[in-house]
């Protein structure tokens, strides 16, 4: 993967991009949130201290999914009343982006897709409701307003000024998983499946005191 290097407009430190389509990144020295327009980096804000988090995954964790290697390039951290979860931004070897969601060590891997059918309106959606996505029946399993709690690393879009985001989680009877993010004018559909930790063959994980990997 060719790495592009730029300098942080705030502190001058080198900022490398693992992901050629990255639109946003954070400077790991001065914690500036940087947005890339063409070749210029613009500072749009500063990352607040991320709340403590116990995901075993970290930036630069590597793994394999569907016979393709990926590296973790960034993340978005969300918070809701039942806890926090991470959406880890994965960059596959072919440059495609994916998302590994980690909620209390339950993992789901999804990609942003264009829905063939129009997505349901957020108003009137209820838990237990079923509708078809991509030819398969999905059931709404969670309907949560989450707080955007922070970002880290490279992301494929600008994502730094959110407050509350409405998420709808859906699952199918075959173990497929979908999330609809209603924070944009057109809702974003992430489609994927629940995955087993061991199946991802992850390396470069965080260490936990007293626990063998």
């Amino acid at each position: 993967m060719s790495r592009r290097i730029a300098n942080c407009p705030q502190c001058g430190a080198q900022v490398g991009f693992r992901f050629s389509n990255a639109v946003q990144t954070t400077c790991s020295y001065c914690r500036s949130i940087l947005v890339r327009h063409d070749v210029d980096l613009t500072r749009v804000g500063e990352v607040a201290d991320l709340p403590p988090d116990s995901s075993p995954i970290q930036i630069n964790t590597e793994g394999i999914y569907d016979n393709k290697a990926f590296v973790v390039a960034g993340r978005i951290l969300y918070e809701y009343e039942q806890g926090r979860w991470n959406e880890w931004h994965l960059v596959f070897q072919d440059g495609v982006s994916g998302w590994l969601s980690d909620a209390q060590a339950q993992y789901a891997l999804s990609v942003l897709v264009k829905s063939s059918e129009p997505l349901p309106e957020k108003t009137g959606l209820t838990r237990g409701q079923r509708f078809k996505i991509d030819g398969e029946w999905f059931e709404v399993t969670a309907y949560n307003h989450a707080n955007y709690a922070g970002v880290e690393g490279e992301l494929p879009f600008e994502y730094w000024d959110k407050a509350t985001v409405l998420f709808v989680d859906l699952r199918s009877a075959s173990g497929r998983f979908a999330t609809i993010d209603y924070s944009e004018a057109t809702p974003l559909l992430f489609l994927g499946e629940m995955v087993e930790f061991d199946d991802l063959r992850l390396t470069n994980l965080r260490e936990f005191e007293g626990w063998a990997r």
Binding site: P52, D53, R127, N144, A173, F177, E193, E209
Partner: protein, 442 residues
């Protein structure tokens, strides 16, 4: 790749309970939302730096978990630590049923539980999807190609909590719980505000858990039959029937083989007429015939034209050389008619008997028919025509049927015990009154 400094490693933290000052250990890292002080049982907010008190309860007696908090053990090759404990109960017809849940944690693999009721254990993991549920009188849940039958639905109330949980827990909160079983597995659905959660449990022996978690002593003995306890008879029924089938086939083959080596030879056949009216001595002897081969049986057959009548035959098989006689008697009767229940029949006009172990030699038969005075038949001529024929060295089918009958006993017993087991299982369910149809697995 080292632009990002390595984040601080996950560490077990120890804080003080703001209610009683006792020490509170946080083992679930940042996953824990609530932690319950093991000393004063206050429910604390694990996210607040000073552990704000969310709920205090002293309402009930202290419960001692069978697996202490902090114990580690292996399940499916992964080491887990017990970090939380809760008791929950359902009310069925005003009777509380309480079970215990041990929350297990591994920082890489996440959470699972062990649930225990009356010495029965389940290894439970949240599942990744939504099983399809069919409604109706006997609802079913389908998950990954397997059918689970609805066992029970009830409101499950949390009655006691200790340790840490990655979600908000309070004593007194409740969820609508439904269990579906396909022994040894159980699918459970829990619905509480805003969320539906499914989990899949697998029945475990207490002894296995004691071994995996290296616990002292012995697990509490399991009482009764649990919803998803595997039936010890389920596999045995099939194997018992298979064994029976094979033995039957063997027996049948043996019978066929034996009959191939038997003479089954007709040695004598003759027709006679007996008239009861005549005062002539009815006793007569047949011509001589030869019984060949090894010492074996002789089949004596008598076919009569008796019709609503009976006759008694005194018979003797006599060795022509030695005069040794084998005496025996046969009653032949055949009655039929019609009454309020319809047509009926009793007896047969043909008789057959096997005289065992007759050595080879020349023999003859002495035959003496007798009839009882029969008012109905008396008016008639009372003539009985009969035919006698003998066969040497015949296979005895009765042995086969006796042996076959004995072979059927084990599979029938296993099948009955299996049915009893299933009946006991479902007697504890919400379908205790339903008919038993369709409750068998195959």
């Amino acid at each position: 790749m080292s632009e990002t400094a390595p984040p601080p490693a996950g560490k077990v933290r120890t804080l003080n309970c703001p209610n009683c000052g006792g020490s509170v250990t946080l083992r679930g890292f940042a996953h824990s939302l609530t932690v319950v002080c093991v000393q004063c049982l206050s429910v604390l907010d694990a996210k607040s730096p000073s552990l704000q008190v969310l709920q205090t309860f002293q309402a009930r007696e202290r419960v001692h978990p069978l697996i202490p908090l902090g114990t580690r053990g292996k399940l499916h090759g992964t080491q887990y630590e017990v970090i939380g404990f809760q008791t929950r109960q359902i009310m069925v017809e005003m009777i509380p049923y309480e079970w215990r849940e041990y929350l297990l944690f591994n920082p890489y693999k996440g959470f699972r539980y062990l649930a225990e009721y009356d010495g029965h254990w389940n290894d439970v993991k949240p599942i990744k999807g939504v099983p399809e549920v069919t409604s109706g009188g006997k609802p079913e849940a389908r998950w990954l190609g397997e059918k689970y039958r609805h066992f029970q639905s009830a409101r499950a109330e949390t009655t006691y909590v200790m340790g840490e949980f990655p979600w908000q827990v309070r004593v007194g909160e409740s969820a609508q719980a439904s269990d579906f079983v396909a022994p040894p597995r159980m699918l459970s659905q829990e619905v509480s505000e805003g969320e539906v959660n499914w989990s899949l449990g697998e029945y475990m022996e207490g002894a296995q858990i004691w071994q995996n978690f290296q616990l002292p002593g012995a697990p509490p003995p399991a009482r009764g039959i649990y919803a998803n306890q595997p039936s010890p008879f389920a596999d045995r029924t099939k194997s018992a029937w298979m064994t029976c089938l094979w033995l039957m086939a063997g027996l049948f083959a043996l019978l066929m083989l034996a009959s191939m080596f038997m003479r089954q030879e007709e040695v004598f056949r003759q027709k006679y007429t007996y008239s009861a009216a005549s005062r002539v001595e009815a006793s007569h002897v047949t011509s001589e015939f030869e019984l060949k081969g090894r010492t074996s049986n002789v089949e004596v057959n008598i076919a009569t034209d008796l019709d609503n009548d009976s006759a008694y035959f005194n018979l003797a098989l006599i060795n022509a050389a030695s005069g040794q006689a084998y005496d025996f008697g046969r009653e032949v009767s055949y009655y039929h008619g019609r009454d309020s229940d319809g047509n009926w029949k009793e007896g047969r006009a043909v008789d057959s008997v096997i005289v065992p172990t007759i050595p080879a030699g020349r023999y003859y038969l002495r035959v003496e028919p007798e009839t009882e005075p029969n008012p109905a038949a008396f008016k008639l001529a009372r003539t009985i025509r009969y035919e006698i024929w003998l066969r040497r060295d015949v296979p005895i089918n009765l042995f086969f049927f006796l042996a076959a009958g004995l072979l059927l006993i084990p599979p029938v017993i296993v099948t009955l015990r299996r049915a009893q087991f299933e009946q006991a299982r479902w007697a504890e369910s919400g379908h205790a009154g339903d008919d038993e149809e369709g409750k068998d697995d195959d």
